[in-house]
Amino acid sequence: MSLDYVKFSGGFEKFMPKEYRDMVEHGPFGKKISVSQMGSFKEILEEHPMCAGCAMTLFIRLAIIAFPNPEDTITVGTAGCGRLAISQAAIPFVYGNYGDQNGVASGLSRGLRLRFGDKPKDVVVIAGDGGTADIGFQQVLHSWFRKERFTTIMLDNEVYGNTGGQESGMTNRGAVLKMAPLGKKFEKMDMLQMAKVAGCAYVATVVPNNPRRVESVIKKAVLIAREVGSTYIQAYTSCNIEYAIPTDKVMEDAKNVENDRYQFTEYVSEEAKQYLAERYGYKEFLPKPAAPAAAIPNKA
């Protein structure tokens, strides 16, 4: 993007809404912004209709801040809570049909490459656990097997939140929810393993209570997807309504779930490591003599 579209035509400044003026004057477009600066700049996503205490919303805000080139990023989603927030963001969002986000992103990213060549146009899919692991499963897996160059982010609240609390494939076994009146009868789907089997170049799990880590994985995932291949981030973003988590306990729940089943994991393919090191100066991925293959940075 030329950054022109977020600027005003001369003389129109005073007629523009305050929100818009703030975005132009204090927004993140064309600047290097970090989550540690939150509160000091106008965020791409601020106002939204999500429930009080929604961890998913915090995660989406963090993710959007982490986009390396927000002015050249297009998000793609599907039905679910997440899109209610994402569609309010000041960057383009494609809301297609049920579970078609990875199909749309395949055509979109290929089309943008045809038009813009090497100029980065980042396509990021952000969809829920139902959209990704259930109704969109086939297109998600096939986009990974095809090594489509875009990022897939799952907002995993382990339930169909938007439709009122039904079991999803990512629900834990035994959980009693609508459409699972006797408790879910099979295990939470292992989408992380499937992502690796399908050939994703980068796979990570995160919870929203560590903003710097969210920022770190999103950045890596988006950068790797530019050239190396598909990347997948699975984020625990609790539904405090359907799981009856008190608003002031949402972060505590995230911590507990992190310790229980959402430990931070990160898989980076060798090609992706080399790419991040050479292209973007990621020192931790610089080749070391006789380094172990599965180098996991930071603490688990």
Binding site: M1, S2, Y5, P49, E71, D72, T73, I74, V76, R83, L84, S87, Q88, A90, I91, P92, F93, V94, Y95, G96, N97, Y98, G99, D100, Q101, N102, G103, V104, A105, S106, G107, L108, S109, R110, G111, L112, L114, R115, F116, K121, Q138, Q139, H142, R146
Partner: protein, 445 residues
């Protein structure tokens, strides 16, 4: 073949950089011919460019249309009787006529990816048939609302149980209500012309809609016919992404449509109003395409010997081909009968039919499906403008062919007042019909 095997020894560089090196001891560039294609205006291509005739199948006709259509992205998924078309488009990709191509996972994924490609601002093409059309219909039906220019081909086949691959165009009944432009090709020539014109019409600013080019499977796709084509050194101008009625999502324009229309998901009067307005926009755009169909395709219908004829056959697709032969037989029998072939089903040639059918006594509408979607369209269009008796038949389905004698029988019995043995009384409409005859059937349906 030996030439191409020798090639890689040049410098060990990727193929595209080797081209720039322009060594005299050349290996053959598979894209050489495609690169020499030159852009011409649609007006020249459709109306002026000289044509030569070839005897080819419908699938090959579609391929030749795509060769000249400057397509950026084509996505394939096999289904009989369409498979040959999209694999031939794959050949074009290998030759550089199509810039990007892949085999999708199935039709839901294909229609989604086509939507993504069109949103990116590139020219997109796909094709499917029967069950594939219905599988992809959620996506297809959303293209018009998102104002996505696309051309899709539907090589119609059976969709009902039991599963069959045979021709039957019932899927058109579903496509008619999506808000897309729908053409129905009679033969290989139509396949070629409608596909090429489809891209141009689809991308007109005041249209910005998908175009569906339907044909009856096998009869058109697998049979050969003469097709008059412009030279393959010419192609349409590329899609101009900025030209659409809504901005493409390339992060070069302010985000638009759903990305800023979140209230559309809410249950309030604003949401209802937004959705209603979108639908009005879509169908208004369908109306606006009429002038381009007239300009580039020579009209929404063709009429032969209709003036002064006591009976008229109205048909589309393969039924029009069969009807043309029925007209010839009727002429031999001394029955003066005309033929109207509908090319564009959406928009539908309502005004044209009213003008043409005002004095007809009998209208016969033969179809290759059980439900008779065309007869309903015709009856609705001319209601109040014609006193003709309308026979909604004969109809064949499930892969049956249509003997021309069936059509001739309906013309003869329709003119003499004799009851038909092939068309249910409930499918006979019009002011001249004895309602008592029909009443029994109307009660039982």
């Amino acid at each position: 073949m030996s030439e191409t095997v020798k090639a890689p020894e040049t410098t060990g560089q990727p193929a595209d950089s080797a081209v720039a090196a322009a060594k005299p001891a050349v290996r053959k560039d598979p894209h050489a011919e495609a690169k020499r294609q030159r852009v011409v205006t649609p007006e020249y291509l459709f109306l002026e460019a000289p044509r030569t005739k070839e005897f080819i199948t419908g699938s090959e006709a579609a391929k030749e249309a795509i060769r000249r259509s400057n397509v950026d992205l084509a996505i394939a998924y096999p289904i009989t009787p369409q498979s040959e078309t999209m694999q031939l488009v794959g050949v074009l990709y290998g030759e550089g006529y199509v810039k990007e191509y892949y085999r999708g996972e199935e039709e839901v994924g294909v229609m989604a990816a086509i939507a993504g490609g069109s949103r990116a601002g590139v020219r997109c093409y796909t094709a499917t048939a029967g069950p594939g059309t219905l599988r992809g219909l959620e996506g297809i039906a959303s293209w018009p609302g998102h104002r996505l220019p696309v051309v899709a081909m539907f090589t119609c086949r059976v969709v009902n149980a039991p599963l069959a691959i045979q021709p039957d165009n019932i899927e058109v009944a579903y496509l008619l209500n999506c808000g897309m432009i729908v053409f129905h090709a009679e033969n290989q020539q139509d396949m070629y012309d409608f596909t090429l014109a489809g891209f141009t019409i689809s991308e007109k600013n005041d249209v910005t809609l998908p175009v569906g080019v339907c044909c009856d499977g096998f009869f058109v796709t697998h049979a050969r016919g003469y097709v008059r084509m412009q030279d393959r050194s010419m192609k349409l101008p590329p899609r101009e992404a900025w030209r659409g009625a809504v901005p493409v999502l390339d992060a070069e324009n302010p985000p638009a449509r759903l990305s800023r229309d979140a209230p559309v998901q809410k249950s309030n009067f604003m949401a209802y109003n937004i959705h209603a307005v979108w639908q009005q926009e879509v169908w208004a755009a369908v109306e606006r395409s009429r002038k381009y169909i007239n300009q580039y395709m020579g009209g929404l219908l063709t009429a032969e010997n209709v003036e002064g004829a006591e009976a008229v056959i109205i048909a589309s697709g393969s039924a029009a081909a069969q009807s043309r032969e029925a007209v010839r037989i009727c002429a031999e029998k001394g029955i003066k009968i005309g033929l109207i072939k509908i090319r564009s089903l959406r928009p539908f040639p309502t005004q044209e039919l009213r003008a043409l059918c005002g004095n007809a006594k009998l209208i016969v509408v033969p179809e290759f499906n059980y439900v008779g979607w065309l007869a309903k369209e015709v009856a609705t269009a001319i209601y109040g403008f014609s006193k003709a008796k309308i026979i909604g038949g004969p109809r064949v389905y499930g892969g049956q062919s249509m003997p021309v004698e069936l059509i001739v029988d309906e013309v003869e019995s329709g003119l003499t007042g004799k009851k038909s043995t092939n068309v249910a009384q409930s499918s006979v409409m019009g002011g001249a019909v004895n309602q008592d005859d029909v009443a029994h059937f109307m009660r039982s349906i």
